[in-house]
Amino acid sequence: MTDFLNFLIAGLTRGSIYALIALGYTLVYGVLQLINFAHSEVFMSGAFGSLIIVQSVIGRGVHHLPWYGVTGVLLLGLTSGALIGAIVAWGLERVAYRPLRKRGAPKLAFLISAIGMSFFLSQLAGKLFNRFSDNNFPTYYNVNKHLFDIRGVHISLIQTIMIVSAVVMMLFLDTLVTHTKLGKSIRGVAEDAQTAALMGINIDKTISRTFIIGGALGGAAGFLFGSAFTVYNTMGFIPGVKAFAAAVLGGIGNIRGAMLGGLLLGVVESLVPTAPWVGGHTWIGTQWTDVVAFVVLVLVLMFRPTGILGERLGRAA
């Protein structure tokens, strides 16, 4: 049981990152019915942006901050990551999506322009930043400090931070979409862009703002990811693919579905290959992690072709 809980927590940590990124995919899919392939680069930009901003504000030499310092770093990191992510996502929409929308390009053209943008951004970041061999957040605080340690079940500081901030941001987004005017227009565009336009909703603005919101979440996720692990120019690719899978798993276009899909995928990746309940590290083996993840995805889609919670932004659950 202890093992099980420990793996579960590890899975939830991983899953909350997936969920945060998946939200960006889902939001954009909701309004445009397109996979935003460059979203992983928004995530990466958030990580680099927050790394540079936090370091230049706080400096590299500082270690072991007191609790209020930690809070400060967190807030600064999250906001700067979100800010950079939002800016990049906004630019992305302006450059890689809007011109195509205006030309009525086929759906795949969007995918490819996003892929082009993704190559471009990740390699530009590589050119500009990847020579920082030390692309890690300085140890402002011991991220791995065990916050709780109950009979062998332990939750570290960074796990707490990741799960809590992910949940908070998801709740925030859910409220935003269901209860605000902006949320209403997003849902309106998602349901039927033409009707929404007739109702006086500015489609361009709504799409732009959707990107900004998704970008902010992705950027914040970038900071969390970067401070937990590391920062590099292609860091977005794998989490991006997984988050895309998570969004589909939960029902793409569905906000709660993205949250559910992300967490579920993280937990599956952590639990199934390691299988703590059979006490065996040799059950499936971690080398099959990705296979397990994709097989679960295929199985779910075979029985629920539109994901666990179904499609449609705003029609959650």
Binding site: D3, N6, F7, A10, G11, T13, R14, I17, N130, R131, S133, D134, N136, T139, V143, N144, H154, S156, I158, F225, A228, F229, T230, Y232, T234, M235, F237, I238, P239, E269, S270, P273, T274, P276, H281, T282, G285, T286, Q287, T289, D290
Partner: protein, 396 residues
Amino acid sequence: MRTRPLAKVAALGVVGALALTGCGSSNNSSKGGLSSGGGGNATSYTIAFEGPLSGDNAQLGINEYNGAQLAIAEANKDSSLGFKVKLSKSDDQGDPAKAPAAAASIIQDDTVMGVVGPSFSGATKAVAAKFGAAGISIVNPSASAGDIQTLGFKTWHRIFPNDNAEGPAGADWIAKHAKKVFVINDLSAYGAGVSASVASQLKKDGDTVITQGVDAKTTDYGPISQQVVNSGAKAVWYGGYDAQAALFAKALAAAGFKGIRISGNGVKSSVFTTGAGAAGHGWYFTCGCQDATVAPSAKSFTAAYTAMFNTPPSTYSPEAYDATNILIQAIKAAKAAGSVTRSTVNDQVNKTDYTGITGQISFGTDGDLPPGKGTVNLFIDQGGNIKSLGDITQAK
């Protein structure tokens, strides 16, 4: 009797063509002319580097290219050499499918006398036969697969102990300290290869071995670390490269693993020590190379490298430096023996007996270090510095 124009011209040969260019510029002023590169007495030869200079593994290629650049720069400062050396680079992205094109661009350049690289075993297997057909000597600084020497490549050489030598040595050492070992590899050709030889030797030594793989693109090593802790293993071996190992080290520390942590040559670098920070302290590394803090030549190498590239030498930089120097020495020897062609250079490389910063190097008939040559040393990350513990068979 009529002359036979074809035979006449044929007699000129390739060397003649080179000489023609040389002649053309001999009456030129010093300010330029087409053949200034090769004009006058200062003949110039090219050594080519093939490795990943872009893509996911570019850092490794850049480490090696820098090492080679340093060797070239030092050689060109040495006026006693009697010729100049140029370094050309060819990017194969570490991808066997892209290697043939990279190799072709090297082969078609007549001035290339030897190749440093390819960095990866896969790329090496894809192109070594091509280089062999062209007669160009290959000196391999980092392709460590244990089977390359058996594949019959004519001009291939390797300057460090391969996975089959390094792995078992590490395994024997681990077996002295732990009876249950967790062996993790990164599913790359290198990581999987060296881990497999570690695991099989451990089993021979009577240890319980748990093998798992974690894709090299993973960043979250939480679950696998948890698994290591849960398994009750007393030691963990990681087969893979430095950046991932640093992430793993951090996750392992977070999960509270207290046993022995050890890895191979791919991890022994500043990328690991800075990336892992405190979590990396106490990690062991096996490496078929000398201790850079003891050998004086290695010390000056580190200093020169840092000065030139503004970053300390990293994984495989010293090996590339040595490989380049071996080729330069071979060209020198070939020149002394009469003619510098691809085949004479290769002959000289075969005869190499060279003491470099990674050790004393000579080649067996299969191109690998002769059996018994090349000691595997044990290193440790001591407070962020990599320190040698000496020959692994003697180490505690």
